[in-house]
């Protein structure tokens, strides 16, 4: 019974943990502008995330070595240094976007300008890292993040034309009057919003924190195979909810509170309360997780002791890196750069950088000397290589698309 309980808790945490500011913004924008024609990108991104997270989780469970051990040991000195620097830079931008997201949610709730909330959000995120036990942090915010189910329920209350939505999902095409590069740009941003590097770093390092062994592989797989797809479903629900409400009125989403309008028109204040709580939980958990991930990446790369399972004084430099990244991200957000734009840059650059951490994991998962009989099966390798080619193509086109469409205009 206890196993089932912890399993469901793990799944729900994975659902809540999957959705972050990147999913909220990109799903809202694409739903209002392109309808469901970009649903395929969320499916590709979620499938990729499940595959990548399962492989990384399995490597961590068997070898007790999360991602950046593998990066440092397998990629040689120069390549691994470039990899670690790029990933840390990306974690910082994502952290800034998440802190901006938390502040936007608080602005939505209280009406006070988000700039006031940014330092408080940064401080609160750091306090969670500094003292809140790992399990609490994951479970509390993961469960609160489930409030986003209100979007799924709202779909039944809103005048949704299910047939038209289904038709758009099945036969995706660039909607008339929309520029093709922008359509492809948002496809890349949706894939990037699903496969966020810090989420995989956190998933595998979190596994090490919880002391995963080969026996916990089944539980890890359940989390990844059920939790993340349901998280992807939530993103699709946010996208779909925008179609009946925002698209007919030609509203283009450029602020986080516009994403919540469909629920307001479906359920009014009660619905909005759910949205506020779940948006806050999702973005706040993501802020704490991305701050932790920048600490994880640097500490694992340099071989310092890391993690919340040790008292802070035993993992001094890890906490120093987390503190420094929170301060840097908060300062960056305080430059009043629009958090929504920062989020779009973070997810697109994130999509471009996925192969950096995915390639070494795919290789190590095939090393029998280290993985024993837990090496990749043939079909997992086939799916893994197919996904690697997709992500390499995505990273090649993402920066040019970013420039051509001026970040999605």
């Amino acid at each position: 019974m206890k196993a089932v309980l912890s399993m469901t808790l793990g799944v729900m945490t994975a659902i809540g943990g999957f959705v972050d500011i990147g999913n909220l913004v990109t799903s809202g924008i694409t739903g209002a502008r392109f309808g469901m024609t970009l649903a395929w990108a969320v499916l590709v991104g979620t499938a990729g995330m499940v595959l990548f997270a399962e492989m990384a989780g399995r490597v961590t469970a068997v070898t007790r070595k999360p991602i950046f051990h593998v990066v440092r040991e397998r990629l040689g000195v120069r390549v691994s240094l470039v990899n670690a620097a790029a990933s840390t830079f990306l974690n910082l931008i994502t952290l800034a976007a998440e802190i901006g997201g938390v502040s936007l949610v608080l602005q939505m709730v209280t009406g006070i300008s988000y700039l006031i909330w940014v330092p408080l959000a940064g401080l609160a995120a750091w306090l969670v890292i500094w003292r809140m036990p790992f399990q609490w942090m994951e479970n509390i915010f993961g469960l609160l993040g489930l409030g986003m189910i209100v979007f799924v329920v709202a779909l039944f209350r809103l005048p949704t034309d299910w047939h038209a939505l289904w038709h758009q999902v099945i036969s995706p095409a660039v909607p008339a009057g929309q520029p093709a590069p922008t359509w492809w740009f948002y496809a890349v941003s949706l894939i990037g919003a699903c496969i966020v590097p810090y989420q995989v770093i956190f998933f595998s390092s979190g596994g090490r924190e919880e002391g995963w062994t080969s026996k916990s592989i089944t539980e890890m797989r359940v989390n990844a195979l059920i939790g993340f797809p349901l998280g992807g479903l939530l993103s699709l629900a946010i996208m779909a909810a925008a179609v009946p409400v925002l698209q007919p009125l030609n509203i283009q989403v450029s602020h986080l509170d516009q994403v919540a309008l469909p629920v307001a028109s479906a359920f009014g204040r009660a619905g909005l309360a759910f949205v506020f709580v779940s948006f806050f939980a999702a973005t706040f958990a993501a802020a704490a997780e991305s701050a932790l991930s920048s600490g994880y990446s640097v500490a694992q790369y340099m071989g310092w002791s890391w993690g919340k399972r040790h008292p802070p004084s035993a993992a001094a430099r890890f906490h120093l890196v987390c503190l420094a990244s929170v301060i840097a991200a908060t300062a960056f957000t305080l430059t009043t750069i629009d958090p929504v734009t920062v989020t779009i840059f973070a997810v697109v650059l994130g999509a471009a950088a996925v192969p950096l951490t995915y390639f070494p994991i795919l290789i190590v998962a095939n090393d029998a000397r280290v993985m024993g009989q837990r090496v990749n099966r043939r079909w997992v390798n086939a799916a893994g290589t197919f996904f690697l080619t997709i992500m390499v193509v995505v990273s090649l086109v993402s920066v040019p698309l970013l420039i051509i469409t001026k970040a999605g205009q």
Partner: protein
């Protein structure tokens, strides 16, 4: 007495960039370079110590970044001299494909200085760090 998992191996497989774990199971850095004995005519060089720290990592990077990394490392060292932190080969307990475990605690290793400095000067000052 060092226990090796394999009797024939290469530096990149088992030694270089591997994580060092001290006798209490705590991470103690990574092997950035290896120190070998000077070769005599009949005697091939033998591994005498593991080296870690920026002054060992710098030369392996090579190029301007490497020398710049090494210079930072030299300046950071409180003790003068630029020889990297040295862990004698005798201290190695067990070597396998996952990590290198040591016989000594990490407090007694050369590479402890930067960690103790952060511990005392920064993290130690923040309340709630001891439990």
């Amino acid at each position: 007495m060092t226990r090796w998992d394999e009797d024939e191996f290469t530096a990149n497989d088992l030694l270089l960039d591997r994580e060092l774990i001290d006798c209490h199971g705590m991470p103690a850095g990574r092997v950035d370079d290896l120190e070998l004995s000077d070769p005599e005519p009949g005697e091939p060089p033998v591994l005498t110590a593991l080296l870690c720290g920026p002054t060992a990592f710098g030369p392996r990077l090579g190029g301007r970044l490497g020398t710049w990394w090494q210079a930072i490392g030299r300046r950071l060292r409180l003790v003068s001299g630029s020889y990297p932190n040295r862990i004698d080969a005798g201290l190695i307990d067990h070597v396998d494909r996952l990590e290198i475990t040591l016989l000594a605690a990490r407090e007694h290793l050369d590479s402890y200085r930067f960690r103790r400095w952060t511990e005392e000067k920064i993290i130690g000052r923040i309340p709630g760090d001891t439990t």
